[in-house]
């Protein structure tokens, strides 16, 4: 048997443009999923916080969505929405909902009641209370949820290669089809790097948003 090369650096150097495009596509698919997921989860969380009776059913429904195997979910959608970006995004968005919803609700519920009491005493209405007190104080927990959702989504995007999308997943699939290891290693490795980089970026982005956390650590 001919020795197989694991990484053909020449091939990688020849395909830098394509790699850059696929990384862009990967980030776009991830970004849309996170943005839409965050919007929907925030809406659900506001409903849940206003009507606490709805928290259990929303958690149940988003858990049910999360439990559907990704390949199966895409498979269900393909006959309806085809091999499109929409199919990919419906799947990716539905997987972010559970984590985001849970953390937004937990974050806001975790705000110290004494702080809320003080704010109300200062004349804060429900709306200002939410925007200026609850959400900022819940940010660390919300951000933790966004980080998990981001890392998970970056990995899941690779599977959408099977429905004609995929970003870096394209390399993995193409490598399997052509029996070319370099592409498999490249697709997987760069996807991991993207996930780690995104996670790190979110941590850095969270710092200026929660200055009191740093002050506390310094004290």
């Amino acid at each position: 048997m001919i020795a197989r090369t694991l990484i053909d650096w020449g091939w990688i150097l020849d395909h830098l443009d394509e790699i850059r495009d696929r990384v862009g596509e990967h980030l776009l698919l991830t970004g849309i999923a996170l943005g839409v997921g965050l919007a929907i989860a925030t809406g659900l969380a506001l409903i849940g916080l206003r009507f606490p009776g709805t928290i259990a059913p929303i958690t149940w429904a988003t858990s049910a969505l999360y439990t559907i195997p990704s390949l199966a979910l895409f498979a269900f959608l393909v006959p309806i929405t085809g091999l499109t970006v929409l199919t990919a995004e419906i799947g990716l968005v539905s997987y972010t909902l559970l984590i985001l919803f849970r953390n937004i609700v937990a974050g806001i519920q975790g705000v110290d009641p004494a702080v809320l009491e003080a704010a109300r005493g200062m004349g804060y209405g429900r709306r200002r209370l939410l925007l200026e007190i609850e959400i900022p104080l819940a940010l660390p927990v919300i951000l933790a949820g966004v980080r998990i959702a981001a890392v998970t989504t970056v990995g899941l995007v690779t599977i959408t290669a099977l429905i004609g999308q995929g970003g870096l997943g394209y390399f993995i699939l193409d490598g399997l089809r052509r029996d070319f290891d370099t592409e498999i290693v490249l697709g997987t490795f760069v996807s991991v790097i993207l996930a780690v980089t995104l996670d790190f970026t979110l941590v850095l982005a969270g710092r200026p948003l929660t200055p009191w956390a740093r002050r506390k650590a310094a004290a």
């Binding site: 197989r4 958690t59 390949l71 498979a75 927990v141 998990i148 899941l156 991991v192 996930a195």
Partner: protein, 259 residues
């Protein structure tokens, strides 16, 4: 739409028998998933139990979860192929054919993190005063591990196994891409031939198997966990805040990767 459901029903009536029938495909699916899970449990539980007992391996537990989360399952399955081909080159008695081995290796790798980190968390979560009391009663390290810590950690260990089992069953369809059988064959073949009936049938079978697996492992766990330690049967009973697992030193992670 009526036609479509009719076709789906007809598909289930016509495709149950033979090598490519769904009974055999389900069996293939269960075989590779079960083997991977048993191997992962056999390795991860004792290792994590020992490390947790000694109060070590915290960093390993966190890293294993984080790495497991960042690694795309599709990539793991695909990478398992060149890996097992090399293994088979080096060790000629290993049969890399039919895709069983690469699928097994990938599913094993996917099952490790949740089992390891949950077992570790279970052992670390045992109240130190309980351990102290057991030692005061004259128990040695090994008896403390087996008779005190293990039963107390059992609910978390089984939760880890349940999560891993669902994930393994849900990812096994990707084995069809590296030449294995299993229920993924219908989805992958259906994608290739644009046969939406076959795709949907395959997806239904995978979801069904994942649900059955999850509840079967959950039941088994409840049977084996000492009665006073059994968790509430319905997840709805747990307040949402308790699902958030903050992990020190790394990203806050749930103890699983999305299948």
């Amino acid at each position: 739409m009526i036609d479509y459901f009719g076709d789906l029903v007809r598909w289930f009536g016509e495709n149950w028998a033979g090598e490519a029938g769904y009974l055999h495909r389900t069996w293939e699916h269960v075989t590779v998933s079960g083997t991977a899970l048993v191997l992962a449990v056999a390795i991860a539980v004792p290792l994590a139990a020992w490390l947790g007992h000694r109060g070590r391996g915290g960093l390993a537990a966190v890293s294993v979860v984080n790495i497991g989360q960042a690694l795309p399952s599709f990539g793991i399955v695909a990478l398992a192929l060149p890996f097992t081909i090399r293994l088979a080159d080096a060790l000629p008695f290993i049969d890399s054919g039919l895709g069983f081995l690469p699928t097994l290796v990938a599913l094993f790798a996917l099952a490790l993190p949740p089992v390891f980190s949950n077992t570790h968390a279970g052992f670390r979560g045992v109240d130190p005063e309980v351990v102290e009391a057991a030692r005061g009663m004259g128990m040695g390290g090994r008896r403390v591990l087996a008779a005190v810590e293990l039963p107390l950690a059992a609910p978390l260990i089984f939760e880890g196994i349940r999560v891993a089992a669902i994930q393994v069953v849900a990812t096994a369809p990707l084995g069809a891409l590296v030449g294995y059988g299993g229920l993924g064959q219908y989805i992958i073949h259906g994608f290739a031939t644009r046969d939406s009936v076959e795709i949907t049938a395959g997806a239904l079978l995978v979801v069904l198997l994942a649900l059955v697996t999850g509840s079967a492992v959950g039941r088994l766990g409840r049977l084996l966990i000492p009665p006073p330690l059994r968790p509430a049967p319905k997840p709805g009973n747990i307040p949402p805040g308790q699902h958030v697992v903050p992990v020190r030193g790394g990203s806050a992670s749930p103890l699983s990767t999305k299948p």
